[in-house]
Structures are given as C-alpha cells and as structure tokens.
Symmetry: C2
C-alpha cells in the first residue's frame, strides 16, 4: 500500500473557536468547518501545505473525541493518511495481521470514506486512513 | 509568517526499532536515523509525502522526550512546521505575545535551526518551528 500524504493531524479540543483563533497567530487559518452528527463532533480544517490540522470538538459526552479528552486532555489525537484505494489498503493490512477498528470503510470528514486502524497494532498511535472522494 | 508545510510529526517511543518495524506494515519506511546527544535522543525519520513521522527514543532518563514518555506514555508528541526565516517568525510571534521555549534558535534534527513554542500559548499543543539548512 502506498501512503500519499498526511491528510490531516487531528487535535481534540474543548473549545474549537478558542484554539482556532490561537493558531491564527501562527498564520494557520481555517478553511472550512462542519459538524458530523454521527460522530458527535464539530470540526475545523486548517490547511498547512498538502496537509491540514483538524480541530475536533465533541458535541456530546460520548464518542471517540469526548473519551479521548476525558482520558488525555486537549492533545494530538490521531494521524490521517491518504491512500488511493481504501478497500485494497484494508485488505492488505488485514492480511498482515494488523487489527482494524473499521473493517469496512465508513463516511468521515467531507463525506470521504475513512477507516481507523486499531492502535493496539500501531504502538498505541491512532491512525486513520482516508480515500478522497473529490468533494473537497 | 508563512508556514510552508508540516515538516514532521514527532512520536515519543520507548523502543524505536519496534515502532519503526510496525509502521513498515503500513508502507511507512525509514529514510535515515541519527542520535542527538544534546537532546539525549535517537531519532528516525519516516517520510510521508512532503512530511515525515519522526520517532524519538530517549537515550537517558532526562530530557523532553523522556519526560513526555513518563507523563503521557508512547504518543504523538509535537508538530514541526517549516518556515522560511525562523528569526523573523520568532520575532513576529514574540510581538504577538506568543510565549517561546526557545527565544533564540538552536540546532535540531539534521543540523537545522529549530525553536519550540511554549505550549501554554498554543492550547497545550507543542509546536516546533524549523528553518531547513539544505543539509537534508
């Protein structure tokens, strides 16, 4: 499998507006925001070169981002890697005994097909894979 | 100030060789390794697109990476952003009341000039700036 780029670095935050404004001081500005009800998060994408910082603010007390904040506080949460063909990538990882949180891709940010790898297989680091749909 | 790219995403690890081999399953491979005695770390750079994952393994019980591991365990540690002119970037940040851990750049990975921003000014997230010397 070929990783094309780090599509985004996700940061879990309690107050998206405050952190977005803070990063503005570094010249890092917001491209777009969206709310994903199925993940109970509001997100902002802040492009840097070919990548972006994704700020994730939970919209409820449950869900991955809320759980992360409870356990770790505001911090870098996961790395999202772009692949050409997410189905092929997941099949390859499965064949290599890499555990997956999502065996079947689901809809993520921007409507793209995404899947998370089980961090138990990647030294505790949470990786997301994305196949870009061309919507964004 | 203009951020050109995420130069690397640093991950603090206890066993660099093990994590490097694990990431190989995702097709992420090591470009070069070096030891920085002044930071008491061994590092490996694993390029992805225009960025890289930097694995940092402490070589002593003290220093930033060792302290991070003690407090947080193996996890994503900081984001390094490339700027054209690090002196100008630090002066601009200082003028904006952004606190710096390094007011004067010092030598970092690959001999490049680097400086860390005080995470107290960036929502608890640790950012490094780098001006590339052209050595790597």
């Amino acid at each position: 499998m070929k990783i094309k780029r780090i599509e985004h670095v996700a940061i879990a935050v309690r107050n998206l507006d405050a952190v977005r404004d803070t990063l503005g001081k570094l010249g890092i500005t917001c491209d777009h925001e969206e709310t994903l009800p199925e993940y109970a998060v509001r997100l902002a994408m802040l492009p840097i070169g070919e990548s972006a910082i994704e700020l994730l603010e939970p919209q409820s007390d449950t869900g991955g981002t809320a759980e992360w904040l409870k356990a770790k506080g505001e911090s870098i949460y996961h790395l999202c890697l772009e692949v050409d063909d997410i189905d092929a990538a997941l099949a390859e990882l499965k064949a290599k005994q890499v555990k997956l949180l999502d065996e079947v891709p689901r809809s993520g940010h921007g409507g793209h097909r995404i899947a998370f790898i089980d961090p138990a297989s990647t030294a505790g680091i949470l990786f997301e894979l994305v196949e870009m749909s061309g919507k964004h």
